[in-house]
């Protein structure tokens, strides 16, 4: 009896300790020669999952560096930020992370500087403007991974059926073309406007750029509710949403829905990035591309998006990380960008892709690249601001734009104060 009670008590105690220990560090450190890499999934189906890409990279890397092991964890875009946050909170920090933003981690002093974990040769090979975008206060932390720009996609069959001669250049022409598509019933959704949580900030910035607006002023202070921005959303609300020329609820419609609709021939036009090229081809949609229309003419600079690679200091595995990054950036970039049809960030891959003649469909994106405008990526508060926009930004086209944007501006100012 006595022993049994003691055993039970001990068992419960172990369990209790085990439970509380769950929060402690269960990974992260470990042995110096095992790298933990967390990466986003760019694939949209099993056959092009990013996991396949990374498996190959690791396999080839191991041929040259037998002593270094790399554990890869690929997470989809909707989950990666949350999961990484949980990893950091629980002390289970990855050694390498490839995702959409880096600056918030700089604010907490979690990252190696770029020059600590890459060779000069690797950095010189990366397009300069991207290296610049990886800087926080003049020091580079973010290592560019891939880039893309946005252009207007339109369905040629739909345009023909609706009697539209050429792609719209101004906002009024967008509304006019959408009206024609609606009248002729050429497509279910004349203009696909995805302002859902997936990428609210992207669509928002594209439209705001069209009216001389944007997220920050020249000094980097947030101007989310500037006169131009409120005007932009008021226009969208009155000219696209209210007349039923786009989704009834843009605030809950994600980009992936819009892309899928376009690839299924259900949408007349939308702003898209290179992934849509492949999707449209797979859906046998005869599409055309044009520079995104602004209020009074095509955008001079479109939205450029870059994704990032970053290295965490926590595990202290600087040397192994450097070997892995130098290997990947010198040998495996082309493979990645060909797999997903993205414009590369390294000079040699850009040249190879442009000269091979196999990527003609990427030309429009390459052309927009030099003038592309980025999010305020180097601002540590940006990640909070962007998350807030994803939550409520889309409501600006159905509710009062001034109020919704004003609310966001307040939150952005708070975030900037606490960064």
């Amino acid at each position: 009896m006595k022993t049994r009670a003691v055993v039970a008590g001990a068992a419960a105690l172990t369990m209790a300790l085990g439970l509380t220990a769950c929060g402690g560090d269960s990974g992260g450190s470990g042995d110096k020669n095992t790298l933990k890499l967390v990466a986003a999934d760019y694939g949209d189906k099993k056959s092009n999952a990013s996991k396949l890409y990374w498996q190959e990279v690791v396999k080839d890397f191991r041929k040259e560096h037998k002593d270094i092991k790399v554990d890869v964890q690929v997470i989809n875009w909707n989950e990666i930020d949350k999961q990484v946050k949980t990893m950091i909170q629980s002390g289970n920090v990855p050694d390498l992370l490839q995702t959409g933003g880096y600056a918030d981690k700089v604010a907490d002093d979690l990252l190696y500087k770029a020059d600590e974990v890459t060779s000069a040769k690797t950095r010189a090979n990366i397009v300069d403007s991207f290296n610049k975008a990886g800087e926080v206060d003049g020091t580079q932390y973010g290592i560019p991974w891939t880039s893309s720009t946005r252009v207007l996609f339109y369905n040629k069959d739909v345009f023909e059926k609706a009697g539209i001669k050429e792609p719209p250049k101004t906002w009024d022409e967008v509304a006019e073309a959408a009206e024609k598509i609606k009248k002729s019933k050429a497509a279910e959704t004349p203009y696909a406007l995805p302002l859902g949580p997936e990428e609210t900030q992207g669509e928002t910035m594209i439209w705001e750029l069209g009216n001389g607006g944007g997220f920050t002023d020249a000094k980097g202070a947030y101007t989310l509710d500037s006169k131009q921005n409120v005007e932009t959303f008021t226009w969208l609300k009155d000219n696209l949403v209210k007349p039923g020329l786009t989704y009834a609820n843009p605030a809950t419609t994600d980009r992936k829905t819009a892309f899928a609709d376009f690839a299924a021939g259900k949408a007349g036009m939308l702003n898209g990035h290179p992934t849509l090229v492949q999707m449209a081809k797979a859906g046998k949609v005869d599409y055309g591309v044009a520079t995104i229309p602004g209020k009074n003419g095509p955008l001079k600079s479109t939205l450029g998006v870059a994704d990032w690679m970053m290295a965490f200091k926590d595990g202290g595995k600087k040397d192994a990380i450097k070997k892995f990054l130098d290997f990947t950036y010198s040998k495996k970039m082309l493979k990645f960008n060909e797999m997903y049809n993205f414009p590369p960030v390294t000079e040699d891959a850009v040249q190879q892709m442009r000269s091979s003649g196999e990527h003609k469909d990427l030309e429009p994106f390459f052309e927009e690249l030099p003038n592309a405008k980025f999010y305020p990526l180097g601002d540590p508060a940006w990640d909070v601001v962007s998350a807030e926009m994803k939550k409520t930004g889309g409501k600006a086209v159905t509710e009062n734009p001034r109020q919704v944007l004003g609310d966001l501006q307040k939150k952005a100012e708070d975030a900037a104060k606490n960064k």
């Binding site: 039970a8 950091i88 979690l110 279910e188 259900k266």
Partner: protein, 320 residues
């Protein structure tokens, strides 16, 4: 906990233990000495430890987190005092999220209880196929709530949903509608699903209650010439009270905390227009984990208050 309830060792044993040092007289429970002094503790200790680990510890941690300043990357930057609570109460959406949480809870629980009363009554009758229908009722309960909600989400989908297709084919609507896209139509649908998944448990609770009502009471009522409705109000309902109360309390807590239905169907969007406090708490996590913890603490307090008020109003103890 009934720490003092079990009988303490009888006086003789206690005495023998006290004198144990100087007397070699055989004691009645020679091996129970050390443990007996601890009373029932060794037996309930595992449970106590478990409660400490899985109930008390997380609550302590939750409250602690709500007073911390945590960066978006997840690093603790020191104390935040009551800042996070102030930030939470200042949220533009906080007011209407609270209102909707109350509405959501009241409507879903009320409708569930009413329908379940009827269903339980029905299933208490003898009719052919009763066994099968009783089994069928378990289906929504047996299926994962998340699966059910996801299923409904797709049925309500604007372009591919079966509901739009049917309504279009019947000519009831002229353009397919985005049912979950705006709060006006999303709330009723989510409430419908929440009721749907709450029915089985509630009905079975009430059914069990109904079966404890003795037959002779009904017989007596019939002899006295009571009408069906009189019998129901005068006999069935009062005797069903314990089961009914259990159903209400458990549903209140369940529905108030209900997360999967809303998260699977709308993620609380657009903005926080279709969020209850539980979903709102989850959404806050994306921007500020400490503020989210503050919301959790408020939630926790609300559940405790809710249950206390309810027990008071229904004079729970009197029934016991």
């Amino acid at each position: 906990m009934s720490l003092k309830a079990p009988p303490s060792p009888d006086p003789e044993t206690a005495g023998s233990r006290a004198r144990g040092g100087r007397s070699s007289r055989p004691v009645r429970r020679p091996r129970g000495g050390g443990l007996a002094r601890l009373g029932p503790l060794p037996w309930i200790a595992p449970v106590l430890l478990l409660i400490l680990a899985v109930v008390v510890y997380p609550i302590v941690e939750l409250v602690r987190t709500s007073f911390l300043n945590i960066s978006i990357a997840g690093i603790i930057r020191g104390s935040a005092g009551t800042d996070k609570y102030r930030k939470l109460f200042d949220e533009t959406d906080f007011g209407h999220v609270l209102v909707w949480t109350v509405l959501w809870t009241v409507v879903v629980v009320a409708v569930t209880m009413l329908l379940s009363l009827g269903l339980a009554q029905l299933f208490n009758q003898r009719f052919p196929g009763r066994r099968i229908t009783r089994w069928a009722l378990i289906a929504p309960w047996a299926a994962s709530v998340l699966m059910t909600a996801t299923g409904f989400k797709w049925m309500l989908n604007q372009t591919a949903g079966v509901l739009n297709t049917v309504l279009l084919d019947l000519g009831l609507i002229d353009k397919s509608r985005d049912w979950l896209g705006s709060p006006g139509t999303a709330w009723p649908w989510m409430m419908f699903v929440a009721v749907f998944v709450s029915l089985p448990f509630t009905t079975y609770t009430l059914l069990a209650g109904l079966q404890t009502v003795p037959k002779d009471v009904y017989e007596a009522a019939r002899i006295d010439g009571a009408s069906g409705w009189q019998t129901y109000r005068g006999i069935t309902l009062p005797l069903l009270r314990p089961a009914f109360l259990v159903g209400v309390v458990i549903n209140l807590i369940n529905v108030f905390n209900s997360f999967p239905v809303i998260w699977a169907m709308t993620q609380g969007g657009p903005g926080s227009d279709t969020a209850t406090t539980t979903v709102f708490m989850y959404k806050l996590k994306e921007t500020d984990i400490a503020e989210s913890a503050a919301m959790s603490v408020v939630n926790f307090a609300m559940v405790v208050v809710l249950v206390l008020i309810f027990l008071k109003v229904s004079r729970w103890n009197e029934e016991d």
